[in-house]
Symmetry: C2
Subunit: 192 residues, 2 copies
Protein backbone atom coordinates (compact mmCIF):
# COMPACT_ATOMS: atom_id res chain seq x y z
CA UNK A 1 0.00 0.00 0.00
CA UNK A 2 1.81 3.03 -1.32
CA UNK A 3 0.10 5.42 1.11
CA UNK A 4 1.50 3.53 4.10
CA UNK A 5 5.02 3.39 2.66
CA UNK A 6 4.92 7.11 1.89
CA UNK A 7 3.71 7.90 5.37
CA UNK A 8 6.43 5.80 7.00
CA UNK A 9 9.06 7.47 4.81
CA UNK A 10 7.77 10.93 5.61
CA UNK A 11 6.94 10.67 9.32
CA UNK A 12 8.51 7.45 10.60
CA UNK A 13 11.70 7.85 12.59
CA UNK A 14 14.35 5.22 13.18
CA UNK A 15 15.68 5.71 16.68
CA UNK A 16 18.55 4.23 18.68
CA UNK A 17 18.47 0.44 18.83
CA UNK A 18 16.92 0.38 15.35
CA UNK A 19 13.42 1.04 16.66
CA UNK A 20 10.88 2.39 14.18
CA UNK A 21 8.78 5.17 15.68
CA UNK A 22 5.44 5.70 13.98
CA UNK A 23 3.73 7.30 16.94
CA UNK A 24 2.77 10.45 15.05
CA UNK A 25 0.25 8.62 12.85
CA UNK A 26 -0.21 4.95 13.80
CA UNK A 27 0.18 3.85 17.40
CA UNK A 28 -0.10 6.85 19.73
CA UNK A 29 -1.56 9.60 17.60
CA UNK A 30 -3.82 8.02 14.99
CA UNK A 31 -4.52 9.80 11.71
CA UNK A 32 -8.16 9.51 10.61
CA UNK A 33 -7.55 9.57 6.85
CA UNK A 34 -4.78 6.97 7.08
CA UNK A 35 -6.94 4.78 9.31
CA UNK A 36 -9.79 5.03 6.81
CA UNK A 37 -7.49 3.94 3.98
CA UNK A 38 -6.15 1.06 6.09
CA UNK A 39 -9.72 -0.13 6.65
CA UNK A 40 -10.58 0.26 2.99
CA UNK A 41 -7.46 -1.67 1.93
CA UNK A 42 -8.10 -4.59 4.31
CA UNK A 43 -11.65 -4.68 2.99
CA UNK A 44 -10.34 -4.75 -0.59
CA UNK A 45 -8.06 -7.66 0.36
CA UNK A 46 -10.40 -9.71 2.58
CA UNK A 47 -13.87 -8.34 1.74
CA UNK A 48 -14.90 -11.47 -0.17
CA UNK A 49 -13.88 -13.92 2.59
CA UNK A 50 -17.12 -13.90 4.57
CA UNK A 51 -15.47 -12.40 7.67
CA UNK A 52 -17.75 -12.46 10.73
CA UNK A 53 -15.28 -11.23 13.38
CA UNK A 54 -12.21 -9.06 13.41
CA UNK A 55 -9.81 -10.02 16.20
CA UNK A 56 -6.96 -7.88 17.52
CA UNK A 57 -4.98 -7.38 20.71
CA UNK A 58 -4.86 -4.37 23.01
CA UNK A 59 -3.84 -1.64 22.77
CA UNK A 60 -2.73 -0.22 19.44
CA UNK A 61 -4.53 -2.79 17.30
CA UNK A 62 -7.91 -1.64 18.60
CA UNK A 63 -8.21 1.50 16.49
CA UNK A 64 -7.32 -0.33 13.28
CA UNK A 65 -9.78 -3.11 14.12
CA UNK A 66 -12.65 -0.73 14.91
CA UNK A 67 -12.24 1.43 11.83
CA UNK A 68 -11.80 -1.64 9.59
CA UNK A 69 -14.91 -3.20 11.18
CA UNK A 70 -16.85 -0.23 9.82
CA UNK A 71 -16.06 -1.46 6.29
CA UNK A 72 -16.81 -5.12 7.04
CA UNK A 73 -19.85 -4.24 9.16
CA UNK A 74 -18.89 -7.01 11.58
CA UNK A 75 -17.89 -6.85 15.26
CA UNK A 76 -14.30 -6.21 16.30
CA UNK A 77 -12.98 -8.08 19.32
CA UNK A 78 -9.82 -7.34 21.23
CA UNK A 79 -7.84 -9.86 23.24
CA UNK A 80 -6.93 -8.57 26.67
CA UNK A 81 -3.45 -8.87 28.07
CA UNK A 82 -2.95 -9.97 31.61
CA UNK A 83 0.04 -10.87 33.72
CA UNK A 84 -2.09 -13.23 35.77
CA UNK A 85 -2.55 -16.86 34.89
CA UNK A 86 -5.49 -17.26 37.25
CA UNK A 87 -8.35 -16.86 34.85
CA UNK A 88 -11.71 -18.61 35.00
CA UNK A 89 -12.94 -20.99 32.33
CA UNK A 90 -15.06 -18.43 30.55
CA UNK A 91 -12.17 -17.35 28.35
CA UNK A 92 -9.85 -18.74 25.73
CA UNK A 93 -6.27 -18.00 26.70
CA UNK A 94 -2.86 -18.20 25.10
CA UNK A 95 0.62 -17.43 26.39
CA UNK A 96 2.66 -14.86 24.50
CA UNK A 97 6.38 -14.33 24.96
CA UNK A 98 7.28 -10.67 25.17
CA UNK A 99 10.64 -9.48 23.88
CA UNK A 100 9.99 -5.79 24.53
CA UNK A 101 9.06 -6.27 28.17
CA UNK A 102 10.60 -9.66 28.97
CA UNK A 103 8.79 -12.69 30.35
CA UNK A 104 5.41 -13.72 29.03
CA UNK A 105 1.82 -12.62 29.37
CA UNK A 106 -1.59 -14.19 28.89
CA UNK A 107 -3.97 -13.03 26.18
CA UNK A 108 -7.63 -13.82 26.59
CA UNK A 109 -10.91 -13.63 24.75
CA UNK A 110 -14.33 -14.45 26.15
CA UNK A 111 -15.67 -17.79 24.93
CA UNK A 112 -19.01 -16.12 24.25
CA UNK A 113 -17.69 -14.18 21.28
CA UNK A 114 -15.84 -16.76 19.20
CA UNK A 115 -17.12 -20.11 17.98
CA UNK A 116 -17.16 -22.65 15.15
CA UNK A 117 -19.48 -20.50 13.03
CA UNK A 118 -17.03 -17.61 12.89
CA UNK A 119 -14.68 -16.60 10.10
CA UNK A 120 -11.98 -14.50 11.70
CA UNK A 121 -9.68 -11.82 10.32
CA UNK A 122 -6.82 -11.00 12.70
CA UNK A 123 -5.47 -7.44 12.49
CA UNK A 124 -2.57 -5.72 14.20
CA UNK A 125 -0.41 -2.67 13.76
CA UNK A 126 3.00 -4.39 13.81
CA UNK A 127 4.48 -7.77 12.99
CA UNK A 128 8.03 -8.56 14.07
CA UNK A 129 8.68 -11.95 15.67
CA UNK A 130 5.01 -12.87 15.42
CA UNK A 131 4.44 -14.01 19.00
CA UNK A 132 1.31 -11.95 19.63
CA UNK A 133 -0.14 -13.14 16.34
CA UNK A 134 0.61 -16.79 17.22
CA UNK A 135 -1.31 -16.27 20.48
CA UNK A 136 -4.33 -14.91 18.61
CA UNK A 137 -4.18 -17.73 16.07
CA UNK A 138 -4.05 -20.23 18.93
CA UNK A 139 -7.22 -18.68 20.39
CA UNK A 140 -9.01 -18.83 17.02
CA UNK A 141 -8.07 -22.53 16.75
CA UNK A 142 -9.27 -23.29 20.29
CA UNK A 143 -12.64 -21.71 19.48
CA UNK A 144 -13.17 -23.86 16.40
CA UNK A 145 -13.54 -20.74 14.24
CA UNK A 146 -11.98 -20.47 10.77
CA UNK A 147 -9.00 -18.17 10.35
CA UNK A 148 -9.43 -16.21 7.14
CA UNK A 149 -6.05 -14.49 7.39
CA UNK A 150 -3.99 -11.81 9.08
CA UNK A 151 -3.72 -8.15 8.12
CA UNK A 152 -0.79 -6.09 9.38
CA UNK A 153 -0.12 -2.39 8.95
CA UNK A 154 3.69 -2.63 9.15
CA UNK A 155 5.71 -5.82 8.91
CA UNK A 156 9.35 -5.83 9.87
CA UNK A 157 10.47 -8.09 7.04
CA UNK A 158 13.93 -8.49 8.53
CA UNK A 159 12.48 -10.31 11.54
CA UNK A 160 11.18 -13.84 11.28
CA UNK A 161 7.45 -13.48 12.04
CA UNK A 162 6.22 -12.95 8.50
CA UNK A 163 8.16 -15.84 6.99
CA UNK A 164 7.19 -18.17 9.82
CA UNK A 165 3.46 -17.42 9.40
CA UNK A 166 3.56 -17.70 5.59
CA UNK A 167 5.36 -21.05 5.88
CA UNK A 168 2.47 -22.26 8.02
CA UNK A 169 0.19 -21.52 5.07
CA UNK A 170 -1.50 -18.58 6.75
CA UNK A 171 -2.64 -15.80 4.45
CA UNK A 172 -0.75 -12.76 5.66
CA UNK A 173 -1.25 -9.34 4.07
CA UNK A 174 1.03 -6.54 5.26
CA UNK A 175 0.38 -3.01 4.03
CA UNK A 176 4.09 -2.19 4.18
CA UNK A 177 7.02 -4.57 4.59
CA UNK A 178 10.27 -3.03 5.76
CA UNK A 179 13.21 -4.92 4.31
CA UNK A 180 15.91 -2.94 6.05
CA UNK A 181 16.22 0.25 8.04
CA UNK A 182 18.75 2.36 9.85
CA UNK A 183 19.08 5.99 10.80
CA UNK A 184 19.84 6.90 7.18
CA UNK A 185 16.69 5.47 5.72
CA UNK A 186 14.10 2.73 5.25
CA UNK A 187 13.96 0.23 2.38
CA UNK A 188 10.66 -1.51 1.58
CA UNK A 189 10.17 -4.93 0.08
CA UNK A 190 9.15 -4.59 -3.57
CA UNK A 191 5.81 -5.73 -4.86
CA UNK A 192 3.77 -5.34 -1.70
CA UNK B 1 -28.96 8.56 23.47
CA UNK B 2 -31.83 6.13 23.26
CA UNK B 3 -29.85 3.59 21.23
CA UNK B 4 -27.24 3.26 23.98
CA UNK B 5 -29.86 2.87 26.71
CA UNK B 6 -31.70 0.24 24.69
CA UNK B 7 -28.50 -1.65 24.06
CA UNK B 8 -27.54 -1.61 27.75
CA UNK B 9 -31.04 -2.80 28.69
CA UNK B 10 -30.96 -5.58 26.12
CA UNK B 11 -27.39 -6.84 26.38
CA UNK B 12 -25.87 -5.35 29.52
CA UNK B 13 -25.61 -7.66 32.50
CA UNK B 14 -25.34 -6.69 36.14
CA UNK B 15 -23.05 -9.17 37.83
CA UNK B 16 -22.06 -9.87 41.44
CA UNK B 17 -20.64 -6.83 43.17
CA UNK B 18 -22.95 -4.61 41.11
CA UNK B 19 -20.61 -4.61 38.12
CA UNK B 20 -22.13 -3.71 34.76
CA UNK B 21 -20.90 -6.00 31.99
CA UNK B 22 -21.17 -4.52 28.52
CA UNK B 23 -18.48 -6.66 26.96
CA UNK B 24 -20.75 -8.01 24.23
CA UNK B 25 -20.98 -4.64 22.46
CA UNK B 26 -18.77 -1.95 24.03
CA UNK B 27 -15.50 -2.90 25.69
CA UNK B 28 -14.42 -6.34 24.55
CA UNK B 29 -16.53 -7.11 21.52
CA UNK B 30 -17.31 -3.83 19.76
CA UNK B 31 -20.40 -3.50 17.59
CA UNK B 32 -19.75 -1.54 14.38
CA UNK B 33 -23.22 0.00 14.02
CA UNK B 34 -23.29 1.10 17.67
CA UNK B 35 -19.78 2.55 17.38
CA UNK B 36 -20.83 4.47 14.27
CA UNK B 37 -23.82 5.95 16.12
CA UNK B 38 -21.63 6.85 19.10
CA UNK B 39 -19.28 8.72 16.75
CA UNK B 40 -22.18 10.43 15.02
CA UNK B 41 -23.72 11.50 18.34
CA UNK B 42 -20.48 12.94 19.72
CA UNK B 43 -20.11 14.82 16.44
CA UNK B 44 -23.67 16.16 16.80
CA UNK B 45 -22.84 17.31 20.34
CA UNK B 46 -19.32 18.71 19.81
CA UNK B 47 -19.05 19.14 16.03
CA UNK B 48 -19.22 22.95 16.21
CA UNK B 49 -16.49 23.29 18.86
CA UNK B 50 -13.48 23.39 16.54
CA UNK B 51 -12.02 20.15 17.93
CA UNK B 52 -8.46 19.52 16.69
CA UNK B 53 -7.62 16.42 18.81
CA UNK B 54 -9.57 13.62 20.39
CA UNK B 55 -7.87 12.29 23.52
CA UNK B 56 -8.61 8.97 25.22
CA UNK B 57 -6.89 6.39 27.38
CA UNK B 58 -5.97 2.82 26.58
CA UNK B 59 -7.47 0.34 26.07
CA UNK B 60 -11.24 0.42 25.62
CA UNK B 61 -11.47 4.15 24.83
CA UNK B 62 -9.37 3.69 21.69
CA UNK B 63 -12.07 2.24 19.47
CA UNK B 64 -14.57 4.95 20.38
CA UNK B 65 -11.93 7.63 19.80
CA UNK B 66 -10.88 6.26 16.40
CA UNK B 67 -14.38 5.82 15.04
CA UNK B 68 -15.45 9.25 16.36
CA UNK B 69 -12.32 10.80 14.82
CA UNK B 70 -13.67 9.65 11.44
CA UNK B 71 -16.58 12.08 11.92
CA UNK B 72 -14.42 14.96 13.18
CA UNK B 73 -11.66 14.22 10.65
CA UNK B 74 -9.08 15.02 13.31
CA UNK B 75 -6.41 12.81 14.92
CA UNK B 76 -7.21 10.61 17.90
CA UNK B 77 -4.55 10.27 20.58
CA UNK B 78 -4.46 7.71 23.36
CA UNK B 79 -2.74 8.16 26.69
CA UNK B 80 -0.62 5.17 27.62
CA UNK B 81 -0.75 3.60 31.03
CA UNK B 82 2.44 2.66 32.76
CA UNK B 83 3.33 1.41 36.20
CA UNK B 84 6.72 3.05 35.94
CA UNK B 85 7.36 6.60 37.05
CA UNK B 86 10.72 6.73 35.26
CA UNK B 87 9.68 8.51 32.14
CA UNK B 88 11.76 10.96 30.13
CA UNK B 89 10.81 14.59 29.63
CA UNK B 90 9.27 14.06 26.23
CA UNK B 91 5.85 13.26 27.69
CA UNK B 92 3.13 14.89 29.74
CA UNK B 93 2.28 12.63 32.67
CA UNK B 94 -0.43 12.44 35.31
CA UNK B 95 -0.99 10.06 38.20
CA UNK B 96 -4.29 8.17 38.29
CA UNK B 97 -5.59 6.30 41.31
CA UNK B 98 -6.99 2.91 40.38
CA UNK B 99 -9.84 1.45 42.38
CA UNK B 100 -10.22 -1.66 40.23
CA UNK B 101 -6.59 -2.68 40.47
CA UNK B 102 -5.42 -0.80 43.58
CA UNK B 103 -2.51 1.61 43.77
CA UNK B 104 -1.93 4.19 41.10
CA UNK B 105 -0.53 4.32 37.60
CA UNK B 106 0.96 6.95 35.34
CA UNK B 107 -0.76 8.07 32.15
CA UNK B 108 1.35 9.73 29.50
CA UNK B 109 1.05 11.54 26.21
CA UNK B 110 3.92 12.67 24.00
CA UNK B 111 4.51 16.42 24.18
CA UNK B 112 4.75 16.48 20.38
CA UNK B 113 1.04 15.87 19.92
CA UNK B 114 -0.65 18.36 22.27
CA UNK B 115 -0.03 22.09 22.49
CA UNK B 116 -1.58 25.53 23.03
CA UNK B 117 -3.15 25.57 19.57
CA UNK B 118 -5.22 22.44 20.23
CA UNK B 119 -8.89 22.18 21.14
CA UNK B 120 -9.33 18.80 22.80
CA UNK B 121 -12.33 16.51 23.16
CA UNK B 122 -11.74 13.77 25.75
CA UNK B 123 -13.64 10.51 25.13
CA UNK B 124 -13.94 7.34 27.18
CA UNK B 125 -16.21 4.36 27.48
CA UNK B 126 -16.99 4.59 31.21
CA UNK B 127 -17.17 7.26 33.89
CA UNK B 128 -17.44 6.21 37.53
CA UNK B 129 -15.23 8.02 40.04
CA UNK B 130 -13.63 10.08 37.31
CA UNK B 131 -9.99 9.50 38.15
CA UNK B 132 -8.85 8.55 34.66
CA UNK B 133 -10.66 11.59 33.25
CA UNK B 134 -9.01 13.87 35.82
CA UNK B 135 -5.64 12.54 34.68
CA UNK B 136 -6.44 13.31 31.04
CA UNK B 137 -7.72 16.78 31.94
CA UNK B 138 -4.51 17.42 33.88
CA UNK B 139 -2.48 16.51 30.76
CA UNK B 140 -4.58 18.83 28.56
CA UNK B 141 -3.97 21.66 31.06
CA UNK B 142 -0.23 20.99 31.19
CA UNK B 143 -0.05 21.19 27.40
CA UNK B 144 -1.75 24.59 27.27
CA UNK B 145 -4.47 23.20 25.00
CA UNK B 146 -8.14 24.11 25.42
CA UNK B 147 -10.48 21.46 26.77
CA UNK B 148 -13.69 21.52 24.75
CA UNK B 149 -15.42 18.88 26.86
CA UNK B 150 -15.70 15.21 27.72
CA UNK B 151 -17.84 12.59 26.00
CA UNK B 152 -18.64 9.35 27.79
CA UNK B 153 -20.50 6.31 26.50
CA UNK B 154 -21.82 5.14 29.90
CA UNK B 155 -21.79 7.21 33.10
CA UNK B 156 -22.45 5.56 36.43
CA UNK B 157 -24.57 8.39 37.79
CA UNK B 158 -24.59 6.87 41.27
CA UNK B 159 -20.84 7.38 41.58
CA UNK B 160 -19.36 10.82 42.09
CA UNK B 161 -17.30 11.38 38.91
CA UNK B 162 -19.99 13.06 36.82
CA UNK B 163 -21.12 15.48 39.51
CA UNK B 164 -17.54 16.36 40.43
CA UNK B 165 -16.62 17.17 36.81
CA UNK B 166 -19.81 19.17 36.16
CA UNK B 167 -19.20 21.17 39.35
CA UNK B 168 -15.78 22.11 37.96
CA UNK B 169 -17.61 23.66 35.00
CA UNK B 170 -16.47 21.01 32.53
CA UNK B 171 -18.88 20.21 29.72
CA UNK B 172 -19.63 16.53 30.15
CA UNK B 173 -21.90 14.66 27.77
CA UNK B 174 -22.74 11.07 28.63
CA UNK B 175 -24.70 9.00 26.12
CA UNK B 176 -26.36 7.02 28.92
CA UNK B 177 -26.41 7.80 32.63
CA UNK B 178 -27.25 4.93 34.94
CA UNK B 179 -29.06 6.17 38.00
CA UNK B 180 -29.33 2.85 39.76
CA UNK B 181 -28.82 -0.80 38.94
CA UNK B 182 -29.01 -4.23 40.47
CA UNK B 183 -29.51 -7.75 39.24
CA UNK B 184 -33.22 -7.02 38.65
CA UNK B 185 -32.68 -4.11 36.33
CA UNK B 186 -31.16 -0.81 35.34
CA UNK B 187 -32.72 2.66 35.76
CA UNK B 188 -31.47 5.54 33.61
CA UNK B 189 -31.42 9.22 34.48
CA UNK B 190 -34.22 10.99 32.60
CA UNK B 191 -33.57 13.65 30.00
CA UNK B 192 -30.17 12.48 28.82
Amino acid sequence: MLLMEERIRRDGRVGPGNILKVDSFLNHQMEPQLYREIGREFYRLFGDCGVTKILTIEASGIGIACVTAQFFDCPALFAKKSRTKNIDGQVFTAQVESFTHGGSYTVMVSRRFLGPGDRVLILDDFLAKGNALLGLIDIVEQSGATLVGCGIAIEKGFQEGGRMLREKGIRLESLAIIEAMDEDGIRFRQGT
